[in-house]
Subunit: 257 residues, 2 copies
């Protein structure tokens, strides 16, 4: 990883585009906002944009492309959303069809792409404040869980909030709240800490997405709203075709966190 | 006006609905957010929501109704957007067709209503800080101008920024910046002060909307982004039908400013 540290966002995207970087993007270009990706047809785009607007905590919008365009002009001019993420999920009729490394063969002229803020964006600030970010320490993907907290519905899009988890001691958790509340475009402050069952998570050691990480004796789990939430809403909506990033394999923008 | 001061937002909306209040809403329910209204068909709704998202300064979104619904559930449950504003503009093919006090006869099942923040929302805070708000002092509508600052385009929606103006001395203007920067949902900090020609306004005494107000010798005009901006974008788009509030005749929400 060390030789990637001084690469620009454009250089990292080129490594991803040419298949030379295939891992989760946590820790990459850590001064820049990372983004969740959702691609759907123009027909569903209003409902989806409204879903994001009504659920700003899990779905802070960073950019929306013009219809048919795969270039996110506001956050990364020149980038190509069809190739510049390491892994994509393809959904058909609400079901996960396959995971692919390139979506050029799937691209359509009626597609609209949404980029949504990601909690990876505040992890550099955590590390700078000497907070241990467990999944980075353990070289894993962040653990993510489907909670029982309902989102606001918009048209056909509805579902429960997906959350990411980082374990901290209470004093670290307080610091983490202070830091992340300054990142509204990256989900902001946590939505819960402590007892996972209070938000419908029955087994903290079995995340629904990403990897399990160790939680030390004096630590409690702290939960943030997560940009995988729209993937659940897409499944629930049953839209006939959608493409997203694979959880943890994000798009790296040119916007400073 | 004095007997309106202690009315609730719901009571004021009922006065408006029953034709008992027909003036601009500046100064009304001054602890609550007021809102600009845009109603368009579902077909144009994605482009318009994207226009708002790309131009958050003139178009901070407060609420968007479900398709066909005239109730703004998030900001004023129970209100009726067809009757609860004192005056509406009806646009046909981008041209202002007429001004009406009730739009029930125009309502369609494919309509979506957008409520957008309004600078009236920060005027109470200005008055509390002993800043003179000229158009309120002179019992007029706020003066509004079409600037030459282009908005970000989204689909068929494009156009220049409309601004509202309040005259202040420099020290008052500084205070006004401090105050309004705390109201991002009501256009936030100003976009310009001083020479009006710098933003394409040739005659400060001839506003494009609202009323002319007096500017004293030691005062300079201070300009804020204005929620009339989307009306210009609607004219430019030539959408075949749209309804908005008439400038200055706003919707009063239940949300504390």
């Amino acid at each position: 990883m060390e030789n990637l540290e001084n690469r620009t966002t454009e250089q990292i995207r080129r490594l991803i585009r040419t298949g030379k970087f295939m891992r989760p993007t946590t820790g990459l270009c850590d001064k820049y906002l990372q983004a969740n990706l959702v691609i759907i047809s123009q027909k569903s785009a209003f409902d989806f944009l409204l879903f994001c607007h009504r659920n700003p905590k899990p779905c802070p919008i960073l950019d929306v492309t013009d219809v048919g365009s795969f270039e996110p002009k506001m956050v990364a001019p020149g980038a190509d959303l069809r190739t510049d993420l390491p892994l994509y999920n393809i959904f058909q009729n609400g079901e996960l069809l396959e995971k692919v490394r390139d979506i050029r063969q799937y691209w359509r002229d009626d597609f609209v792409a949404f980029l949504i803020g990601c909690s990876f964006s505040f992890e550099a600030a955590m590390i700078e404040a000497n907070l241990p970010v467990r999944h980075i320490e353990e070289n894993k993907n962040v653990p993510m869980y489907i909670s029982n907290i309902p989102c606001e519905t918009a048209g056909s899009f509805s579902g429960d909030l997906v959350v990411s988890m980082r374990p901290f001691t209470p004093i670290q958790a307080i610091k983490a709240v202070e830091i992340t509340s300054k990142f509204p475009k990256a989900h902001g402050a946590p939505i819960h800490f402590g007892d996972p069952t209070k938000i419908g998570i029955s087994n903290i050691n079995k995340p629904d997405f990403g990897d399990q990480v160790s939680i030390k004796d004096e630590e409690i789990p702290v939960f943030w709203a997560c940009g995988v939430t729209p993937q659940l809403a897409i499944k629930n909506s049953g839209v006939n075709f959608a493409i997203t990033h694979a959880p943890g394999y994000m798009f790296i923008t040119d916007i400073k966190a």
